[in-house]
């Protein structure tokens, strides 16, 4: 999940009886599964929640380029280099697409980026973990994109139209990334040397729990989650989609011939789901608060690129202004003539 713990600004879900006519009509539209569009009336809290969620999602796509870019210069074959470059380019495209969706709610990309750079806005906790081997590139595709897809498939039905439509397109590319990541790992496990196989297992050991944390804390502890569900921004609870992810991932893990670092993981005949161990939420909250392995370096890199590029952006604007002036002078001359 690329958006975690999105603040809704409410302490408890508002009762229908307390709503005025406008808000009640809005909720009826939500209930009827009619999409909310940019020009629609919406409660301020709904608008703000969406801006927080969509921009957090966009920031995650952009910051997520860093751990992948870490191996781009070292990809072991041209085929893998092409795949990784294409994937990173896709992620950047998703970021752009999502910033545009958020802009339809009245917040500029510049403002959203400023919020990221100053630490006001967050991005997914997962991207604060390092990519320490080439196998991590496969594991990120398989597990991280895999976890994101479970969430994003749900978001294709989210109540805000531009966000839902962005998800349809993004899901297609993310599914491709996930299969590509899995194929990378499968190749290393089935045709690789022992060193390569060890690399894959080590990668899963490090990334398994952080991937499960991507879905956010358990629903019981989140009033934001309940409000987002009432607005149908979220369609399923954190625990439900986490379980769905585990259930679909473990059979794939078995085909790889790998294990996950969870002694409590086992199939439960009664529930029809996998049971799993307790997630270390202390680690999750530490990462969210800025104390993950790479928080500082990820943000510093982003800020540095932005600051180093200031003169380029200024030049582009200056040039565009000059061109606009020339055009307007020409147009005036034509009018006089």
């Amino acid at each position: 999940m690329y958006a975690q713990m999105v603040e809704t600004g409410v302490k408890q879900v508002k009762d229908r009886a307390d709503m005025d006519a406008q808000e009640a009509a809005f909720m009826q539209q939500i209930d009827a599964e009619d999409k909310i569009e940019p020009q629609s009336w919406m409660p301020d809290a709904y608008r703000k929640t969406l801006v927080r969620q969509i921009s957090q999602h966009a920031h995650s796509e952009i910051i997520g380029m860093q751990p992948e870019g870490n191996w781009l210069t070292r990809a072991p074959t041209l085929k893998r280099k092409l795949q990784l470059a294409a994937k990173i380019q896709d992620e950047c495209g998703h970021g752009l697409y999502l910033y545009s969706a958020a802009e339809t709610l009245g917040t500029s990309r510049a403002q959203m980026l400023d919020d990221l750079h100053t630490g006001k806005a967050k991005y997914s906790s997962i991207f604060n973990y390092p990519t320490l081997s080439w196998a991590d590139i496969g594991a990120v595709g398989w597990l991280v994109d895999g976890a994101a897809i479970v969430n994003q498939v749900m978001l294709q039905r989210t109540s805000y139209g531009p966000y839902a439509r962005a998800m349809v397109r993004i899901c297609k590319e993310e599914s491709f990334h996930q299969r590509q990541g899995y194929e990378l790992l499968l190749t290393m496990m089935q045709q690789g040397t022992q060193a390569q196989k060890d690399m894959v297992q080590d990668s899963i050991n490090r990334l398994w729990w952080p991937s499960l944390m991507m879905f956010g804390p358990t629903d019981d502890e989140s009033p934001n989650s309940a409000q987002s569900m009432a607005w149908k921004i979220k369609r399923k609870g954190n625990d439900e989609i986490r379980q769905q992810f585990i259930d679909q991932t473990i059979p794939q893990l078995e085909v790889l011939g790998c294990t996950v670092p969870d002694p409590d993981l086992k199939w439960n005949e009664e529930t029809g789901h996998y049971d799993y161990g307790t997630i270390d939420w202390a680690e999750f909250f530490a990462v969210i608060k800025g104390n993950g392995p790479c928080n500082k370096q990820r943000l510093a890199r982003k800020v540095q690129a932005h600051e180093n590029g200031a003169w380029v952006r200024e030049a582009a604007i200056a040039y565009a202004d000059k061109q606009a002036n020339i055009k307007s002078q020409q147009s005036n001359t034509n009018k006089v003539a």
Partner: protein
């Protein structure tokens, strides 16, 4: 160096194909070093996209070199297994990224040459060379359009961007004459209608670049010291470091399947 290649099964045509492969390979590698460093997100995708195109082109050329000489192994053995003295790219392609003006000036000077060379190669007597050139040129047309726009935008933007772009052109001009140097082996391929004739390309390149510089309010350096050697495998010191990074994983696991 050419003797060394001969013992490895490289005839003069394969040398030429490797030269065509190494230019996009090396420039593509320089561009992917810039991942997440772009001044604006749209340029992040453009840099990655250009890098991606160039790697794809390099792979097509390398595959052809291997098809002609299967003993070379595969495209990865050529990209990741050769030492720096065996790379035949133009020195321009390996120059460091510098600031965004340096990156775009390098890109533009190369893109014009690349487009003109590929245009000529579309008419090559070697049908596979003509086919790869025809496939590549669609991408390179776009590369040139973008880099030209940036040279003009930065040249005629603010005083600061103008100074950066002028300084970039001044520095990179030292690698311009090498674009058009052809040894005896390559000239023989030109005579056979296989390789591009760089003397006619040079005229078009200088005219095109001059026009862009004028539009960008930039001046072309005169009396600039010229450097040569890339096509003979004599590269800069930073080039070895760039290759060391690019080849590190491949070489750490000899024979591994990825």
């Amino acid at each position: 160096m050419s003797d060394c290649y001969a013992t490895q099964g490289h005839d003069s045509l394969n040398q030429y194909i490797l030269h065509l492969a190494d230019n996009p390979l090396v420039l593509g590698q320089r561009l992917c070093e810039l991942c997440t460093h772009a001044p604006i997100l749209e340029e992040e995708t453009a840099l990655m996209n250009t890098s991606l195109d160039l790697f794809g082109q390099a792979r097509n050329w390398l595959d052809y070199a291997v098809a002609r000489n299967p003993q070379l192994g595969d495209c990865d053995a050529l990209a990741m297994g050769r030492d720096e003295r065996h790379f035949l790219n133009l020195l321009l392609c390996e120059q460091g990224n510098g600031n965004f003006a340096d990156t775009m000036a390098r890109q533009y000077l190369f893109d014009v040459w690349h487009r003109l060379t590929l245009q000529a190669l579309c008419l090559s007597q070697d049908s596979q060379i003509a086919a790869i050139a025809a496939k590549s040129i669609k991408e390179v047309d776009y590369h040139e359009q973008r880099s030209r726009n940036w040279v003009i935008r930065l040249g005629d933007g603010t005083q600061q961007s103008h100074d950066y772009m002028q300084s970039a052109i001044n520095e990179l001009w030292s690698y311009s004459d090498e674009l058009f140097v052809q040894g005896d082996d390559e000239l023989q391929l030109v005579a056979q209608g296989i390789a591009a004739n760089q003397s006619s390309i040079e005229v078009q390149w200088r005219a095109t670049v001059s026009q862009t510089m004028a539009e960008a309010t930039l001046t072309l350096p005169t009396d600039c010291f010229q450097k040569f050697g890339g096509k003979q495998g004599e590269h800069s010191e930073p080039f070895g470091l760039m290759l060391a990074e690019m080849q590190s994983l491949y070489r750490a696991h000899p024979g591994a399947v990825w």
